[in-house]
Symmetry: C2
Subunit: 418 residues, 2 copies
């Protein structure tokens, strides 16, 4: 392919390391100036492409781009905005191609989860159909760790580390207090319909902490749950409960819903922790405390996993490598080679097999009683939370990059988002 | 005083650095073996003294005691158990003296907040009255930072750092998402009736984050609050709200109460964040997220402030020094000498002036509109969150000490706690 510009966008919920992927991708592109011209980023994700609101990343210094490796959240802005089927959203797909044409963009790098993989795949299909060739590469990102094929997803390892560390620390607190005060601590974690993040709470068992995990993959059984908490409190004096936001009753009803839905039509979850704490109080009378970590967990770059940061960077860089090698409609993956010592290589998956597939916790990662993680799961998780990768600090606070985000001059008429 | 054993107990809610005070105190005592025999710790705080459940800290290695400096929560167990007036609780105060006599204890080191300072003071009064001399020294500890006289309280600086870092990280997340998704993020923090912890959220303003703080010291004015959020979202596209658990309406009613009370008779707070988020949604329609940090904030040794850890250690060590110099019924304090460069010395306060006095945010620390912190407050807070003091990690998790906590043989008949 002749020299073309590239488009990069961040999609969906951001993470502690999505900017590390941006860093890897932009640094890799800058090494191939004969093939890749400028890297334009979408301001607020795909919205930036649709509205021709492009950011010229070539205006950023090498130091600013390098700092992205240590900066959480989405440096260019992200979006929850799903392009539906080609038929229903043809106008928007065509607009994308129009903007890409206008700015001589030949590479589409999309950094997101399952929904974004679907969009990325459709862009590649449409570009073929419209006769304007676009190389479309998806860079995986999701704290939920629910993408198929890849062994893990960038963003997950850091959340898992945050949840494991926080569960350990809060549990030591409860252990100190349980004689006369709090006996049950409930921590609500993200993960949507997959229990990967909740599973990370199980890593504290190695530190002697009694913990009950409530997975979305296991229908909530109130009676058995209360019996389990009762047993642990009698044995240890206290226990910690890690509940996934996606935990639900057998009829599918979530333990708590805020009632609203996001742009992808998913229910916005939150509030399971106080529900679970209330059930314990009612049944057993124990004093409780609860926490909802929410964005704190996925933005926690200060305690990011070194493994996760490294992989996020590598997958971003690999996307450029794949594009230059002629791949299209693919996603670089983490392929695990061994648990101990932890070894992996960067592999490849076709987007047709990634789009809209959710990967849940395998049955053999959850203990038979449904409340814990197996040794196999611990072997899976351990390397993903391994290593610390601290940002620099100034005056007690981390030094996080804020980019110039200079706009590229528009060439097209305005476009109304529906 | 002839050589005597010492008693040390942790009281009330534990912190990320209360064990650093224990470390300083025990290490200092071990340097004065001619004056101080063994340091006995109360298992589960003062409960351990009443039930003669003493821990022999001399059984711990120097390395184990040194590791306390890096370990959050209460290594010997804490208690929420308040001894009331000498008249109402005479039986318990007499039991304390009886246990101290039986184990040749001449030093009473009590590590806690305002209620504990009161208990410590009463023990010193009673020991005089009963003719059994006890040197009673209070070591300050409270994340709420509400003790008088001392410039700050060990535990606070680390929570403040956690809240400032978390507010910054979560705000960057919201900033990334606000174009199409979450526009308002609400973080609920501890602090009871004092807004010190909430104030720490204001430190992110220097990073360009629009933040609204809801202090317990300022009556909640719903209309003005909504107007402020509306203005910030219009200007910045998003905003972050940091709400103190003690925030209340003009009539004193808390934004959210769980309805239960702790052993000190204080209302157990929690749940203000979803209330505030709901008000914003109802008035402005913005998509929101909320988090309740709860124990995560006060146990977060992984992001402790170096200043805080150092002061916690020094105050523990100073307690021994004061006792050996003949002081009684006093508390070592942090006396600030200058903001920039930050300088302080360890001073001294009589317990009669500390007990049961709460220190709130001064008026000139809160902006005129009631929603932010002044430059003066920022100068106060900045040094307290400064510096990182990371624990060691193994396999992705911090290495926190668990002590042997060997029991001392009992010499007295059992005692029933009422």
């Amino acid at each position: 392919m002749a020299k073309k510009n590239a488009f990069y966008a961040q999609s969906g919920g951001v993470t502690a390391v999505i900017n590390a992927s941006a860093c890897g991708l932009i640094e890799a592109a800058r090494k191939h100036k004969a093939k890749i011209g400028k890297v334009y980023a979408g301001r607020n994700g795909i919205i930036g492409a649709l509205t021709e609101d492009l950011i010229d990343t070539s205006k950023e210094t090498a130091a600013a781009i390098a700092a992205l490796r240590f900066t959480p959240a989405g440096a260019f802005g992200s979006a929850r905005y799903k392009l539906k089927s080609l038929e229903a959203n043809k106008r928007e797909y065509e607009r994308l191609i129009e903007v890409f044409k206008a700015h001589d963009i030949g590479y589409f790098f999309y950094n997101g989860g399952g929904d974004s993989a679907d969009t990325c795949y459709k862009v590649s299909q449409l570009s073929e159909a419209m006769g304007y060739p676009i190389v479309a590469i998806h860079v995986p990102k999701t704290v939920d760790n629910d993408l198929p094929i890849t062994d893990c997803c960038p963003g997950f390892g850091s959340v898992a580390k945050y949840i494991a560390v926080s569960t350990l620390e809060a549990s030591l607190d409860v252990r100190s207090m349980c004689k006369t005060s709090t006996k049950v601590f409930v921590l609500e974690v993200m993960g949507r319909h997959a229990g990967w993040i909740a599973a990370a709470g199980g890593l504290v068992e190695g530190h002697g902490i009694p913990v009950v995990i409530l997975f979305p993959e296991v229908d909530f059984d109130q009676q058995r749950f209360i019996a389990r908490v009762d047993k642990l409190v009698k044995e240890h004096g206290y226990c910690t409960v890690v509940v996934s936001e996606g935990c639900h009753y057998p009829d599918g009803k979530f333990l708590a819903e805020q009632g609203s839905k996001d742009a992808f039509g998913h229910a916005q979850l939150g509030g399971a922790a106080p529900v679970v704490a209330g059930l314990v109080k009612q049944a057993l009378g124990h004093k409780f405390h609860w926490a909802v970590a929410d964005y704190l967990q996925r933005a926690a770059r200060h305690i990011a996993s070194k493994t996760d940061v490294k992989q996020a960077y590598e997958l971003g860089a690999k996307a450029v490598d794949l594009a230059l090698k002629g791949h299209n409609a693919v996603m670089p993956t983490v392929d695990r080679l061994s648990d101990v010592p932890y070894k992996y290589k960067i592999g490849l998956a076709p987007l047709s097999k990634v789009a809209n597939v959710e990967k849940f916790m395998p049955k053999d990662f959850i203990t038979a009683d449904g409340f814990g993680i197996t040794a196999k799961c611990k072997r899976y998780l351990a390397p993903l939370i391994n290593g610390e990768d601290y940002p620099k600090y100034k005056g007690g606070l981390p030094v996080y990059a804020t980019l110039k985000n200079a706009a590229v001059a528009k060439k097209l008429a305005a476009f109304d988002l529906k």
